[in-house]
């Protein structure tokens, strides 16, 4: 994934570049609106991460001038979280909006979602190690054993499996499984994960569902050390 980061705060820009590069992205940086506009217009990126307040050219201005020529997905990141700012960003053509302080996991998840958008149909049969998930039949098997899951548990597992190897934050999970679009302080997701883990991992030798403390959860096959 080729990403352009337009951000005047050096520390933020640096850790974003490092994080995204380590996730396998190609990253370009611009520290002001003028450079950012030039890069965004003259190169093709999969996603642009755009700060709202920039020296030289405001993030919103940049977005407007970019939308005049192309439709590169843009995720706005800003310290201002007034509703008007959010609405304005989305109206000017931003595809998503994140308020500082945001978590890196959250940002990466949203970047991937933007990047995935418009791709060809996703497979209906998913496989993670010995775990098989049939999205049509709404059935899950591990090592050939049928797993008895509730509807929400299945939805949760399906989400983790579709995004296997990707860390999903609690907020993302609450949003995509329960349609709860707010920064929840409850431990609903933790408990739900605990219960899911009891069904899909506990009876088996190697765990697939891992907790990344402070970040979220990931479903993947890990080499046993």
């Amino acid at each position: 994934m080729k990403v352009l980061i337009v951000e005047d705060e050096r520390k933020t820009a640096d850790y974003l570049r490092q994080g995204l590069t380590e996730q396998g992205c190609t990253v370009d940086l611009a520290f002001d609106g003028i450079d950012g506009q030039h890069l965004a217009v003259h190169h093709d990126y999969d996603v642009i991460v755009l700060d709202g307040m920039l020296p030289g050219l405001d993030g919103f201005e940049l977005l407007r001038s970019l939308r005049a020529v192309k439709n590169t997905p843009v995720i706005m990141v800003t310290a201002r979280d007034g509703v008007e700012d959010r609405v304005r960003g989305l109206r000017e053509g931003a595809d998503d909006y994140l308020v500082k302080p945001f978590s890196f996991v959250e940002l990466y998840a949203r970047l991937q979602a933007l990047n995935r958008r418009g791709r060809s149909q996703e497979p209906t049969l998913l496989r993670v190690g010995g775990l098989h998930i049939d999205l049509i039949a709404r059935r899950a098997l591990r090592e050939g054993q049928r797993l008895d899951l509730t509807a929400k548990e299945f939805a949760l597992l399906a989400l983790l499996a579709r995004r296997q190897g990707e860390i999903l934050s609690k907020t993302t999970i609450a949003e995509l499984v329960w349609d709860m679009h707010f920064d929840s302080n409850t431990n609903v997701v933790e408990v739900a994960i605990k219960r899911l883990r009891a069904k899909i991992d506990a009876p088996f030798a190697s765990p697939l569902l891992h907790t990344i403390r402070g970040m979220g959860y990931v479903l993947e096959v890990r080499e046993v050390l």
Partner: protein, 453 residues
Amino acid sequence: MKFLPNSISLRLALMFSLVALAGFLLIGLSLRMVLDRELARQEQEQVQARLLDMRYLLERGRSTDLAQRARDKIETLSSTGRARYWLWSEDPRWRYGADAERLASLTHGRRRVLPLESMALLGVDLPATAVRPAVSLVVGVGTEPFSQTLAGFERLLLPIVLIGALGVAALGYWIARLGLRPVVQLSRQAQGIGPHARRQRLSDEPLPEELAQLGRSFNAALDRLDVAYVQLESFNADVAHELRTPLANLIGQTQVALTRERGAPELRELLHTNLEELERLRAIVADMLFLARAEQGARAAQAVPRSLAAEIRKTVEFFEVLLEEAGLTVQIDGDAQAVIETSLFHRAMSNLLQNAVQHAPRGSRLLARVEPARGMARVSVSNSLAEDLPPEQLTRLFDRFYRADASRAGSEANHGLGLAIVKAVALMHGGSVFAHCEQGQIMVGFAVPTIAP
């Protein structure tokens, strides 16, 4: 009232003196009028007396040399200088004084004096007697003394009036100062009140009734400000406290880790712990910003008409696993249509449920209810409680960082902002919050405006 000086004492003094000036002038002018009339009367009397005197001689005189005697008398009387006499007759022997014919015709038939060239004239026609022909007698008295008296009065009147008015102004100023002395006292007391002496109040003990009222109102305003001040102060302290714990953990843990060589797994563990603390900080900051925005008057911008029961059901579904873990069931009652921003509504509802899940005894049933009431929908969650909350705790439930159960402090995920956020959400929808507690049941909720059917 722009033309008045900006001082009550000066204003009063000025107004007193204006009133005094008007009063004195009125009195002065009336006096002058009386004096004028009185002087005129005296003038008339004097002229008349002299006329009578002379007339007596002319009418009653029987001697043959009456003309000569009259002339002699006139000479004698005129010698004092104030009065003058004229005689006019067809007979030249009975004529006296220059211009007598004209004066006689001027005063002919007049009963009142005729003012002429600073003289007051009065004339009379006397028919012929045995010893003389018909004559006209004219007597004049100089009016100089009268007009001098009047002019003297007038000269004195203006200065006296002005001096009087000035005197009243000075006295008025002094009286006003005296009367306003309690205000100065009040102001001196008020000067002593500040952040360092917040409890101090104006004493209304020695104040006159008019000012005691002001003093009481002022004190009441101070009380209200004080409450807000204390809230703000304790709020700042709370924020600092809430942020201090995670910050202290972050600094301490990191310092300990860096004091010696650590392996990668240990460092990773540290970073995870740090991240958790940072997450906590981020959540507090985000919630604080949310509350601040609501208090600054932010409104739900993406509100849409929704069935509240349906949205409650969705939130309860989200809580399903937590409810099961806690052995609780939820009953949903009632419904109403309202324009809400669903994510905000879910957030408020989720905080209410979270609160109930934390405090309800195991195995009990929660009640999520929607009750329409006068244009509002009251959305509430009720649960059983081991013992009732006292009313003073009930009113503070929605305060930031307030925890009814102090021993639980810090153990919860929502750092004491859960119900404050419910209140903020209600505010953003133009609604309000409420809490009731009786017979072991607590009901906490918020109201949002419904759609008119």
